[in-house]
């Protein structure tokens, strides 16, 4: 890397490039000094690299802005080009709805305004363009309020610029910026409050409608923070102002103009403001313009009190951008995160921000395992501070686990087990030993049990057993240690049945490398007629699974070789359910192998997703819904596999469509060439003849034919894939229809009458015992049932038993409703296209209101139109 590059890249860092200095002013002077010399020869390299740095290291934007300001004094033309490029990029970003780029380029423009490169008035014009677009969008007559997410995003971007340049705006264009602020205030008054229901980390049990309205949404909250900032004279500790020492020089530079930009077209207005179409469009808009953070407050406010309100917003911006742009660069990412240019400590805020991403709903920008890695790296980078903060976060989340969203719980379990596996499984389990005294459905107990299960999967039973030696009683929560449960194992003293003999026979056949076909005929000729279908199924399935039980690879090998035998026996859904039941019985001591085997069988299409679904909702599994993750893991796998297949098809179709276009082009070109050749007059024997001479004609003709054939064949494969996709989508509809019907049925059986439990809070405060004794007394118990959380009593040795007050059945309902919401949210995009059918068949008046509420909340569907469609 040549030195100007590393200077640009490393500016502001403590690094060898800048020697011992950590002074921004010196960094800027050094960097500028080198760039000035290089500018002559390397303009074409410097320009894109500088822009790239500014876009990908946004926490350094003030430094880059100042460097550009100084360059402006030397080479106006270069800086004009920077602005032109930025303008093009910005317009592109707006058109392609690239939110991160829009946001960051606006900050870069603000920084350039601060260093006198850009006229503040030009930037105000940008603000006004976006603001007016936002205001139109939420206007019920001219616009389309279902697209409010876009308007909110634009306004958020404008407000986000103010910490970086508020002071300059107020000093230089006070009236214009005031006009913008008034405009934003007006926008805030016409937009709808953005309800976070469905995306909040914690279930709200209080008066569910009232609380939500009083809580500020993200934009309202940012507006408040900006108000405080404004009243503090726009002073911010967390934003460096490196242009100030150079101000005297910078004012001499030419202040460029920034050409007008165009906000993208408004979405088509809607004929009605409620109903399915509104919901679909809202969903679509929120996907495109999603809110990048939901604040997770896990620590007491005292941990962050030395910050101004705006500092929190800025720190989140820094951290999220580092996470975004330095994804995949472990070292850089960790060192940037711990070395942000702010004068206060921020470990707690950093932990909250990372956890808020790990748990972000509906989906974090990256896979959860990325945040797992970041947390590990930060623990290593700040060994004295961060591990304790992480442990504090775990404790705080554990305290509130009963209220934590189901999806978040699953992610937390996966993260925590993985995290511990990287730190020798050390955890003060004795703190949580009391969960053994809680009922087996208590969420804290389930959490501990699931974490231990995942630890065992990542490691091995004895290792984990050893890690809980401070709380040996927790062994009770470890998964069973036993191995497979083979029906035909030849243990001594065990009775040998006919089926044992059949199984042994089958083993010999497999060892003798008989083909699947040979085994099928054996089954059909010798087993089935004499022993019946059920016996045949049990023997074949148990024996084959046993042969494949040694490892994942053994399983795959056996399924690849003898899957057809299973397919022949289990040809309909009922048999497939029996097949799954055999798998689950064989692996009853090993949830991971159960899940893997079912997943692979679905992969080889031996079982359908509908069969899996029906099995998951069978009584034995349904009973486990609130005390174990096992049935949910199987269900999650089945739905995600279905979803992956559809996504793959969509990708293939996209690629094929592109190939069709290029094949068409090629064919058209070849055809044109042929036509030209044919219409050409050639002299043959002195006579003019139509057409090129035959020697030349031949390749042209064959090329035309070949390209045409290619075009047809690509079209054919596209059609084939599209047919497959259409079928997959139908199957998907059937899947979700069945999923919701099953959910609705099992919930209907267990939920109390709608009149008795209209909210989750009411459901939660029903006492299991009192339900039977006296329903009316439940209110009395609410006093010590505050939030339904078990009261942890570490000091007194009193037994904590029965401290978790939610009853078995109520917890079952709460957990299941939580999963209804989680599935709806995760697959909202797949569910919305089938909403009409689902409305008609499942979400009708007969469905339990709490069930419908959970679905709506997961889909983020406005509730007003329940029965209008």
């Amino acid at each position: 890397m040549s030195s100007w590059r590393s200077l640009l890249l490393r500016i502001g860092d403590k690094c060898p490039e800048y020697g011992t200095s950590s002074d921004f002013k010196e960094h800027i002077e050094t960097c500028f000094g080198v760039l000035r010399r290089e500018l002559e020869h390397s303009t074409n390299d410097i320009l894109p690299f500088l822009l790239q740095c500014a876009e990908q290291l946004p926490h350094k934007i003030p430094l880059y802005g100042t460097v550009v300001g100084l360059l402006n004094l030397e080479n106006e033309d270069f800086v004009r080009k920077i602005l032109e490029n930025t303008q093009t990029n910005f317009q592109d970003a707006l058109d392609s709805e690239n939110c991160d780029r829009i946001r960051i380029l606006m900050r870069f423009l603000t920084a350039m305004m601060c260093s006198k490169v850009l006229q503040p008035a030009s930037l105000v014009v940008v603000f006004e363009t976006l603001l007016s677009s936002a205001a139109t969008t939420v206007d019920e007559e001219k616009g389309n309020p279902s697209w409010q997410a876009r308007g909110d995003f634009y306004v958020t971007c404008i407000l986000s610029c103010l910490p970086w340049g508020g002071l300059e705006f107020v000093e230089q264009v006070p009236e214009e910026i005031e006009r913008v602020m008034v405009g934003i205030e007006a926008y805030l008054s016409i937009r709808r409050h953005n309800s976070d229901t469905g995306l909040s980390f914690f279930e709200e049990y209080d008066d569910e409608s009232g609380k939500d309205a009083s809580e500020k949404d993200f934009l309202e909250d940012l507006w408040d923070r900006i108000q405080v900032l404004s009243s503090n004279g726009w002073k911010v500790d967390s934003v460096p102002r490196p242009h100030l020492p150079f101000e005297a020089q910078l004012v001499a530079g030419k202040s460029h103009e920034f050409g007008p930009i165009n906000a993208p077209d408004q979405p088509e207005p809607l004929s009605q403001l409620a109903g399915v179409l509104y919901g679909k469009q809202k969903h679509h808009a929120e996907l495109k313009y999603c809110q990048r953070i939901h604040r997770l407050n896990i620590f007491p406010a005292s941990k962050t009190e030395d910050m101004e309100p705006i500092d929190r917003f800025i720190m989140e911006e820094y951290l999220l951008d580092v996470l975004l742009f330095l994804n995949g660069c472990r070292k850089e990412c960790a060192s940037c995160m711990v070395g942000l240019p702010v004068p206060f400590r921020y470990e707690y805020l950093m932990a909250e921000t990372i956890f808020s991403q790990l748990l972000l709903l509906p989906q974090p920008p990256f896979k959860p395992i990325y945040y797992t890695l970041v947390i590990m790296d930060l623990c290593k980078a700040l060994p004295g501070a961060f591990p304790a903060v992480v442990a504090g976060a775990v404790r705080a989340l554990f305290e509130k686990i009963a209220d934590l969203d189901m999806e978040c719980r699953t992610r937390l379990i996966l993260w925590f087990s993985h995290h511990l596996s990287n730190f020798q499984f050390i955890w003060p389990w004795e703190e949580w030993a009391y969960v053994l005294d809680l009922p087996k459905w208590a969420p804290q107990r389930v959490f501990v049990q699931e974490v231990l299960e995942r630890e065992v999967r990542l490691s091995y039973w004895d290792k984990v057993k050893q890690s809980i030696e401070n709380a040996p009683a927790l062994e009770e929560l470890l998964p069973p240690k036993g191995g497979p449960n083979f029906k035909y194992s030849l243990e001594e003293g065990k009775e040998r049945t006919e089926q044992h003999a059949l199984s042994a026979e089958l083993i010999i056949k497999v060892k003798g490398r008989q083909t699947a076909r040979e085994i099928i005929s054996w089954v059909e000729e010798s087993v089935f007629p004499h022993h019946g279908l059920e016996a045949a199924l049990t023997v074949v399935v148990q024996t084959l699974i046993d042969i494949g039980s040694k490892s994942f690879t053994h399983l795959i090998t056996v399924l690849e070789r003898y899957g057809q035998v299973i397919a022949r026996i289990c040809h309909d859904q009922d048999k497939q359910i029996m097949l799954i039941a055999e798998v689950s019985s064989y692996w009853k001591n090993n949830a991971q192998m159960t899940a893997i085997t079912i997943d692979r069988m679905m992969g080889y299409r031996l079982i359908s997703n509908l069969a899996i679904l029906r099995w998951v909702f069978s009584p034995a599994n349904t009973e486990q819904f609130h005390i174990s993750d096992h049935p949910w893991e199987v269900l999650r796998n089945a739905i995600s596999k279905t979803y992956n297949r559809i996504s793959d098809l969509r990708k293939e179709i996209l690629t094929l469509k592109k190939s069709v276009v290029s094949a068409e082009d090629a064919a058209a070109k070849a055809k044109a060439e042929l036509d030209a050749a044919e219409s050409k007059l050639t002299l043959v024997d002195g006579e003019p003849v139509l057409g090129e001479n035959p020697a030349k004609m031949k390749p042209i003709k064959s090329n035309a034919e070949k390209t045409k054939e290619e075009e047809i064949s690509v079209r054919d494969s596209l059609e084939a894939k599209e047919a497959l996709l259409a079928r997959a989508l139908d199957e998907n509809e059937a899947l979700f229809l069945s999923l919701y019907k099953n959910f609705s049925n099992v919930l209907m059986e267990r939920l109390p009458d709608a009149s008795k439990a209209q909210t989750l809070g009411a459901l939660k405060s029903i006492q299991a015992d009192e339900m039977i004794v006296d329903l009316d007394e439940s209110s009395e118990m609410e006093v010590d049932n505050e939030n339904g959380r078990p009261k942890k009593s570490q000091s007194n040795g009193e037994k904590a038993s029965n401290v978790y007050k939610v009853g078995d059945k109520e917890q079952w309902c709460l957990s299941t409703l939580g999963y209804v919401k989680a599935f709806s949210r995760q697959y909202a995009s797949e569910i919305w296209p089938h909403i009409e059918k689902l409305d008609a068949e499942v979400f009708s008046e007969n469905a339990h209101p709490l069930f419908v509420k959970a679905v709506y909340s997961g889909l983020r569907r406005p509730v007003i139109e329940t029965s209008s469609s």
Binding site: K367, I369, S421, Q424, S459, K511, S549, T557
Partner: protein, 253 residues
């Protein structure tokens, strides 16, 4: 996304000598591959552990454990095949350098699995790096093979069981000296949840069923043909007289 700090064309600093194509073809293979190579694994890590960890990066198609070509037992590396390229990239980005079974594992793009590549390429059957190691690594069979042979000749290693060609079975005493920094007990592998592997015996591998039993206790206390740390495969033994090659050495920083 993050293009400033890495050179996307530099996927791998080393080159598998067995790859027959040109450097460009090798790089193209790495850039489109959906296979990762995992190195520095413990011999005792099972496919299911690998599955649990690597499925967090995406849906897994296949796992191929690297095996000692003589003993047909895991020798510390494996391949994981994904369905999608994105998941493959995520496995490299997020799992490389993290811990599996108490060891920092290495995850790299691989040019693609081919039959034969599952076998160790070292003279003694395992990986080349385990030939010449001079440290004591309980997760990888103790000392390197050469050192081991020398110690054996000088009768410095007590195998206890007397099974030749085996690894030092006495773990715990060594552990304190060599792995003391873990401070978290020793490698008590004996009680490991191997039941599902213990019950059955694949007759294709019976020839080595008594080898490499890690500790005496499990042999005394459980069924005689228990093979705790073994992970025999369900594939035919392939010929694997390959030249030595190691997938090792400096990787990109």
């Amino acid at each position: 996304m993050a293009s400033l700090f890495k050179d996307p064309s530099k996927l791998s600093a080393y080159r598998d000598r067995r790859f027959s194509g040109t450097q460009e073809e090798f790089e193209r293979a790495l850039q489109t591959s959906t296979t990762v190579y995992i190195g520095n694994m413990s011999f005792y890590t099972t496919e299911e552990q690998v599955y649990e960890l690597f499925s967090r990066a995406g849906e897994i198609k296949k796992i191929i454990m690297g095996l000692d070509k003589n003993t047909k037992t895991p020798c510390g590396f494996c391949f994981v095949l994904y369905y999608s390229r994105e998941d493959t990239e995520d496995a490299v980005k997020y799992i490389s350098g993290t811990i599996l079974d108490d060891r920092p594992i290495r995850v790299d793009f691989d040019w693609g699995f081919q039959e034969g590549r599952q076998w160790g390429r070292g003279r003694s059957g395992g990986q080349v790096r385990d030939e010449y190691r001079t440290d004591y690594d309980p997760g990888r069979g103790g000392y390197g093979k050469l050192v081991q042979r020398e110690l054996e000749q000088r009768q410095l290693v007590d195998y206890g069981t007397g099974s030749l060609g085996s690894f030092p079975p006495v773990m715990t005493p060594y552990y304190g000296r060599h792995g003391g920094s873990h401070g978290h007990g020793g490698y008590h592998r004996h009680g490991r949840d191997y039941h599902r592997k213990r019950h059955r015996d694949d007759d294709r591998h019976t020839n080595d069923s008594s080898r490499r039993t890690l500790d005496h206790e499990s042999r005394r206390n459980s069924d005689p043909d228990s093979r705790p740390e073994k992970n025999p495969r369900f594939r035919e033994s392939g010929d694997s007289d390959e030249d030595e090659e190691e997938y090792d050495r400096k990787r990109r920083s």
